[in-house]
């Protein structure tokens, strides 16, 4: 399906809204840009068109990316780079000094390693569950069921909710006197300290993040399933293939491109988990749900002694992980083709 057919139907209201809003700016800008063109000629115009974007992009994305290296290689608590002494790789060394890498307590920067371990565990379990849940749901939605549109939006609705709202909704359900404990007690069991127990908190962070984002990946997989030609299934059933064979030999291989997209996107997202957990557990209990981005945030912004160098170094480590993940996706895509 093309973008065209998608928005054909939005046309009316949205189109008119965009028209009237943009129309106003456009007529003012008409005059300005007409003058500029007379002045620099037609060959200069593309530069004029990319300029606003490049300026914003350069100042707020590209420049900070380079500046990150400056922060990572300088120390102290000063905020302005020119007042920060050069320390070379000291920040990275501080992050990576461990007597025993499997035990965060023996590390100089134990919080960093806790965040690394927490994030790794979270990413593996969350992505695994996410892929399974969205694949299962997409397969069910791809059956001949009535009201498919309704069910599709049921799964999708939480995707639009802000992470803060999602966190509060679940905090309210899982708190000591919440709905879930109410149900548990009415069944005759004891209350469970969902938000106070480290393992439970980790468990629920995984569950609610799957709950919140699942609809997005389900949509991608469903689109993939629906693009598999149905005559393949007919041919398989004529040949007497059972359901499992059909699934393993037809559905899965043909769904691979979408599976790769889902896997990589959910990996990249999972590595960056922040706002949901920040509002849900605040990283706690203790450091049980402290993940990488929150470590960076707390080093740079919320701890009393601001260690910008450590924050920048840690964020470069994370950027490295994200770049590797993106490269893997590119490689797999190339192999597909």
């Amino acid at each position: 399906m093309t973008v065209q057919s998608f928005t054909g139907s939005v046309g009316g209201l949205f189109g008119r809204l965009i028209d009237s809003v943009l129309g106003f700016f456009v007529s003012i800008l008409d005059l300005i840009f007409g003058t500029i063109q007379r002045w620099i000629g037609i060959r200069g115009m593309p530069y004029v068109f990319v300029l606003p974007n490049l300026l914003i992009f350069g100042i707020f994305i590209l420049f900070p990316m380079l500046l990150n290296f400056v922060y990572a290689t300088t120390g102290g608590t000063e905020f302005y780079p020119d007042q920060r002494p050069w320390v070379g790789t000291a920040n990275f060394e501080q992050l990576s000094t461990c007597e025993n890498f499997l035990d965060p307590n023996t590390c100089r920067e134990d919080l960093f390693w806790r965040a690394v371990f927490n994030t790794t565990g979270y990413v593996i379990l969350q992505v695994g569950l996410m892929v399974l849940a969205s694949l299962g749901t997409a397969l069910v939605l791809n059956q001949k069921i009535k009201a498919r549109g309704f069910f599709r939006s049921v799964y999708f609705y939480p995707v639009l909710l802000s992470p803060i709202v999602v966190a509060l909704i679940w905090k309210w359900i899982l708190q000591e006197n919440g709905l879930l404990n109410g149900i548990i007690v009415s069944l005759g069991y004891d209350k469970v300290p969902f938000l106070v127990d480290a393992q439970w908190a980790r468990f629920w962070v995984i569950i609610i993040s799957v709950w919140a984002f699942m609809g997005f990946y389900t949509l991608i997989l469903l689109a993939g399933l629906q693009s598999i030609p149905s005559d393949l299934y007919e041919a398989a059933s004529i040949d007497g293939a059972n359901q499992w064979n059909t699934f393993a030999k037809i559905t899965m291989p043909l769904l691979m491109p979408q599976m790769v997209v889902v896997l990589v996107l959910s990996l990249i997202r999972a590595v960056q988990i922040f706002d949901l957990v920040f509002a849900f557990t605040g990283g706690g209990p203790g450091t049980a749900t402290l993940y990488l981005v929150q470590y960076i945030y707390s080093k740079g912004f919320s701890s009393p002694s601001k260690q910008f160098g450590l924050a920048a170094a840690a964020s470069l480590v994370m950027a490295g992980v994200l770049i590797i993940l993106t490269l893997i996706q590119q490689l797999m895509r190339r192999e597909e083709q």
Partner: protein
């Protein structure tokens, strides 16, 4: 009715209920519960009073104690169902409570005071959806201010995003110029770089520009999204160049070509980007959290989060404010549901 029954009992193989159908509908039924109950529970709870909210075990619907106005008392008196000593029950109004003893009066006969052990009385309640939490929340939470900030950020940022990205996409798709491929390459390569990676230096840049605690600091930086440029460029590539050449022969300026030909033709892609931009900006948290530190500049998401930190126990207000925060997105979803879902399925964006 017959049709509904027919739908509910419809099966794969004729009249026999196939096992796959059962699993399918069981799965769907369960997941509707899991996906919807949390939100429904939030909305129901948001109408509960501060006393009701902390009650355990929680009740499904919000209740309010019935009261009665009796002459001689300034405040309306709460009504209780009291079991009296002679074994009968009566509905009485409580005037005051002293320790374990409550002083009650009969609303019909307000002169006699009946003393009752508080164990023997039960409040008379009825289901009540009141806006008390919402009103109190809006007043104490500065909701109007946060809402205003969020609306300004969302609208201004979306307009800026559409304008700036469509201009860049136009240049990148319709001109050959020195440096074009380099610009495109750099933009694409930062597609996957999230804000969290450049947190510290971005804060420095914002400070240097002087946009700390300024909504501009939230609006402008995110406007040049590589995703937006990419999406619009792919779409504009499908617009035939002959259209532009014809306009040039007619003496149109390049800006006119962009605004009168390219923009109207790209409306479908612009609409996709507009929907995404509204979603991104309304729900954005980390960026405003860093840029805004004065509470009167907070957006809804930052405000809501700091609100739950400040008043940790005031769940009745937090719940009401959470409902108000998710309401606009829910309304947008209700109207544009089909477009949003198809848009995501086709572009793979979120």
């Amino acid at each position: 009715m017959g049709r509904i029954w027919g739908f509910l009992t419809r099966t794969r193989g004729g009249n026999k209920l196939h096992i796959t159908d059962m699993i399918t509908y069981l799965y769907l039924g369960l997941s509707v519960i899991i996906m919807f109950v949390p939100v429904v529970w939030l909305v129901l709870s948001s109408f509960k009073s501060s006393a009701e909210v902390v009650k355990f075990p929680p009740r499904l619907l919000p209740y309010r104690q019935e009261t009665v106005e009796i002459e001689g008392y300034d405040e309306p008196l709460p009504l209780y169902e009291v079991s009296l000593e002679d074994g009968s029950t009566a509905v009485l109004a409580q005037t005051r409570r002293v320790g374990l003893e409550a002083q009650m009066i009969d609303p019909q006969n307000p002169d006699d005071i009946i003393k009752v052990n508080i164990e023997d009385r039960k409040p008379v309640e009825s289901v009540y959806f009141g806006l008390d939490n919402y009103i109190e929340g809006v007043q104490s939470f500065n909701f109007a201010r946060y809402l205003r900030n969020s609306v300004i950020v969302t609208i201004a940022a979306t307009i800026l995003t559409l304008l700036v990205n469509s201009m860049a996409a136009f240049a990148l798709s319709k001109y050959r110029f020195r440096g074009r491929d380099l610009i495109f390459l750099i933009m694409i390569s930062t597609l996957m770089v999230p804000l969290s990676v450049v947190l510290v230096p971005v804060f420095l840049v914002i400070t240097e520009v002087g946009w700390n605690n300024n909504l501009l600091g939230v609006i402008v930086p995110g406007a040049a999204t590589p995703t937006g440029v990419f999406l619009l460029r792919q779409y504009m590539l499908t617009i035939p160049d002959e259209l532009l050449d014809a306009a040039r022969i007619d003496g149109a300026s390049e800006w006119r070509i962009y605004s009168q030909i390219i923009l109207p033709l790209s409306k479908p892609a612009l609409a996709v980007l507009a929907i995404f931009s509204v979603m991104w900006r309304w729900n954005d948290f980390l960026w405003p959290l860093i840029v805004l530190s004065r509470s009167e500049m907070f957006t809804l998401q930052v405000g809501l989060n700091s609100f739950q930190g400040e008043l940790n126990v005031q769940w009745h207000l937090i719940l009401a404010m959470t409902v108000l925060t998710l309401l606009p997105i829910t309304i947008v979803f209700a109207f544009l549901q089909r477009n949003i879902t198809t848009g995501i399925a086709t572009t793979g964006l979120k």
